[in-house]
Amino acid sequence: MTRYIVRRLLFSIPVFVALTFATFALMRAIPGGPFDFAGERGLPASIVQNMERKYHLDEPIWKQYGRWLWDLVAHADLGPSLRQRGRSVNDIVGESFPISIQLGLMALALALLIGIPAGTLAALKQNSIVDYSSTFMAIVGVSIPNMVLGPLLIWIFALGLNWLPVSLWGAERPFLLGFLPKPTLKFFSHAVLPVFTLGTGLSASIARLTRASLLQVIREDYIRTARAKGLGEWIVIIRHALKNSLIPVVTILGPMFAAIVTGTFVVEQIFGIPGMGKHFVTSIGNRDYPLIVGVTLIYAVLLVIANLMVDMTYAWLDPRVRYQ
């Protein structure tokens, strides 16, 4: 088992190198550089030259990449931000990643909490009113994009009812273990709307997947066997059927986890949350090369880890799966 994990992780290193180099090279291939222009105007060539020299952008790309890789391996340094002068990508990720983790984990938890029971109920009461309403809610949840749901919730709960603040994130530093905030009222009051916005869409897809998968599993022979042996219905469903039917759910949870925890641009934008998602988008517009490569690498690492954890979970969910 340990050998398997180590091997998987070692195999992923070339992936990271290839990925970062591709990002590195692709970004530089896009027309326009980080310093050609300031705001609404262009900059003289001499000024651009000074700035490029300062950040070594005047060197050949292999040399730039080598420098970046060396700093990363030797000093765990992702390089300087080109847009926020005097700050490093480590600083930027360090302050925004914990926020995205907080939001992401809560949204994911909400999604599972709503999605799995809803999907299970729908499957057990197939073609009943419960099923139809759950399916209807799921379709609504999937179809309403966050950029509609977010402002809608703000309009109802912040402007209309005046129960919750419109935006911003209420977590106070320092965080426990680097990401757990103090569970203050302020934190939760700011978190309710964004978590709900982000979580409902996810819960809808989880519910649909759970329903489909469970419907298939409860028709399997071993479920009939379990019932025939006289096991209680709830034990049959939860211990035998649900556990097995969660395999597809777990499969999508891996990439979903990596994507949600590294931040979501739209929700962060609407609620003014200082998370990491916006850097995936704005750093490209700014041509902030080190920041783009940095956040891409973090996403990739998380994706690899999440998928590894998914594979580990298979072994527990499905007794036939073994890793050597």
């Binding site: 088992m1 001499s46 020299r53 005097g86 925004s96 984990l105 909400l110 954890m309």
Partner: protein, 617 residues
């Protein structure tokens, strides 16, 4: 293996469950939340500072309550370092915390003294000697609220600042704005790697800025430039604390390290999240200026979405919409105007920028065809565009430099009158387009390009429709590009065949003189001259105006230059002069700066009214 699996499961479940619990715990408590959102807490924290202030310095009685201004940063400020600031957010912040040699009067837009109480100009107009006041001090606010004094602000700090901006190793994006200073361009454009230390030092010493004594600084210029006092207000030459910068390097702007000298100090700057400025009690202006306001704390959370800030404003979480955040969003404008309450809080202030369309003058059909350029520019109904599309009560433009800039010709209605009178313009446009060889626009296939933006798109579509109506046989295609790609396409070194025939662009003031407009943008040598308007007569006019010392003659020269640029040659097509749409809560009294450099120290808040307004909500 099984046990390993178990541990994993338990761990994962544990995390999930704990999160679920916290998430659940949130729900029932929610109701009472909004009553005690940020404001109160900050008061408690900062009261200590006020006590400190009282103990350490202020002879004046301390106010009963700290007056808080709630605003918004529309983006994370790229920097608070004056020498490398380039964007409105940074510049707005710098204005609050650093003093300039000179400043602008909010009403008249004239240059007024700030750190420099007066200045002498040599006979030939090339040497400016600024005499500085001696009671400005460097202060550093520590996290515990104590204020540390770091000595007086001196002429040496000004010299250091100008040289730091120009040092190629600083890589300041704005250094070129002070190339008027002797030796500045040579120093800024040198390659430090190719030079010995002595050569580099010689170039630095050759820069024409020198502290004659602690409170006198002298600038030597390449040529007479009567607009130099205007340049002396710019952030790139504001005194910066040499010792602090040398001690902490690029991180010197972090709270707790940064030393400032302006009306406010940096108390907090949680990057991407919020910043807090607090009153600097050691700033001389609080007691000296009768117009000083009462804002003691400026809260600036960072919100990057304009519609969210509008919602925050309506929920009473912020006091105004405007710099350094967002104005009210365009889609909300009709609702705001119709709303009995909101319409009273909404007003429009000028902003020193011009929105214009450029013609690529290296490509047919606009190449060497002034009549065609004039026809297309005259066939735009500016007033209708403003009333139905931009909706910000902008002023139709018929010149380049906007009102408020020294030398602007916006009120001279003899310049391109057909741009203001649409009926007349349309008639002429139809004649001109025929005379240019394209009757009714026959055979014309025009590409109109703008950078990706909702606002630019609707303007372009409206203008496309106007051209179609004026010249029925013309074909106008709208293309868009992402901002950086767009400017790369327009850049002089890019191939001419890739360039659009017509493109949208804008220009905003750095300093309030036409030199910053006509000479800096449309001189043949300018890197901002996107359409390649190359005209020797124009260059001569604006270069002469730069050196001329008699204001009346300068006005005349700029007037001629505007006439040449727009009316005679149609080198660019002015659309409108910008405005700034803002909203203020009734309890806030403020003056909006047309150049994004608000003097918050003049703003006043009726604290009782603000408290009452918050209480109701």
């Amino acid at each position: 293996m099984l046990t390993h699996n178990r541990i994993w499961t338990i761990l994962t479940c544990g995390v999930i469950v704990s999160l679920l619990l916290t998430a659940c715990a949130a729900a029932p408590e929610v109701v009472q939340v909004e009553k005690e959102v940020p404001v109160e807490r900050v008061v408690v924290q900062t009261v200590e500072i006020e006590k400190e202030k009282v103990v350490v310095v202020t002879p004046t009685p301390a106010p009963v309550k700290e007056i808080i201004l709630d605003g918004i940063f529309g983006t994370e400020p790229p920097t608070f370092d004056p020498n490398i600031s380039e964007d409105t957010t940074s510049v707005w912040s710098v204005e609050q915390i650093f003093l300039g040699l000179t400043d602008y009067d909010d009403d008249t837009l004239e240059v007024v003294p700030e750190l420099a109480t007066r200045w002498d100009i040599s006979e030939d107009g090339t040497v400016y000697t600024f005499h500085m006041r001696d009671d400005a001090v460097w202060v550093r606010l520590h996290p515990d609220g104590t204020i540390e004094e770091l000595g007086p602000v001196t002429a040496h700090d000004v010299e250091y600042s100008a040289k730091r901006t120009l040092n190629p190793l600083t890589a300041s994006p704005y250094a070129y704005v002070i190339y008027e200073i002797k030796g500045a361009e040579e120093f800024n454009t040198c390659d430090p790697k190719a030079l010995s230390d002595e050569e580099f030092q010689a170039l630095e010493d050759g820069v024409g800025v020198k502290a004659l004594d602690d409170y006198t600084v002298q600038f030597t210029l390449n040529h007479a430039a009567s607009y130099f006092p205007s340049i002396a207000s710019l952030w790139v030459v504001r005194p910066v604390p040499q010792a602090v910068i040398e001690q902490y390097g690029e991180r010197w702007t972090e709270p707790g390290l940064i030393a400032t000298n302006g009306p406010y100090m940096v108390k907090e700057w949680a990057h991407q999240d919020h910043a807090v400025f607090v009153k600097n009690p050691k700033w001389y202006g609080w007691t000296e200026f009768p117009e000083a306001g009462n804002v003691e704390i400026i809260n600036l959370p960072i919100v990057t979405e304009a519609s969210t800030t509008m919602a925050m404003y309506e929920a009473g979480e912020i006091d105004y919409l405007g710099d350094p955040g967002w104005g009210p969003p365009l889609p909300d404008m009709d609702r705001i105007r119709a709303d009995p309450l909101l319409s009273k809080e909404f007003y429009i202030a000028p902003r020193l920028c011009t929105y214009y369309y450029g013609f690529s003058q290296q490509n047919p059909p606009f190449k060497d065809n002034v009549l065609l350029r004039k026809a297309f520019c005259a066939a735009i109904d500016r007033q209708t565009l403003i009333d139905t599309v931009t909706k910000g009560e902008q002023r139709p433009a018929h010149t380049f430099a906007c009102p408020g800039i020294f030398g602007n010709a916006a009120d001279d209605e003899t310049i391109a009158p057909y741009l203001l009178d649409y009926e007349e313009g349309l008639k002429l446009a139809k004649e001109w387009v025929a005379e240019a060889g394209y009757p009714e626009g026959e055979g014309l296939d025009i590409v109109l390009m703008h950078n990706v933006s909702e606002a630019h798109a609707i303007i372009a579509q409206a203008i496309q429709a106007m051209w179609k109506e004026a010249f029925p046989k013309v074909k106008v295609t709208i293309e868009t590009q992402e901002w950086k790609v767009y400017l790369k396409t327009l850049a002089p070194e890019s191939p001419d065949e890739d360039k659009p025939n017509v493109f949208r662009i804008g220009w905003c003031a750095d300093y309030l003189d036409s030199n910053n407009w006509l000479n800096m943008v449309f001189n043949s040598k300018s890197h901002e001259n996107w359409g390649r308007f190359l005209n020797e007569d124009f260059d001569k006019l604006v270069e002469e105006a730069a050196k001329e010392q008699d204001p009346a003659k300068r006005l005349e020269l700029y007037n001629q230059a505007e006439k040449l640029l727009v009316d005679q040659e149609m080198g660019m097509c002015p659309i409108y002069y910008y405005t700034r749409v803002t909203m203020d809560k009734p309890y806030l009294t403020r003056i909006v700066s047309p150049i994004s450099m608000d003097h918050v120290w003049k703003w006043k808040i009726d604290w009782e009214a603000k408290k009452a307004a918050k209480g109701i909500r």
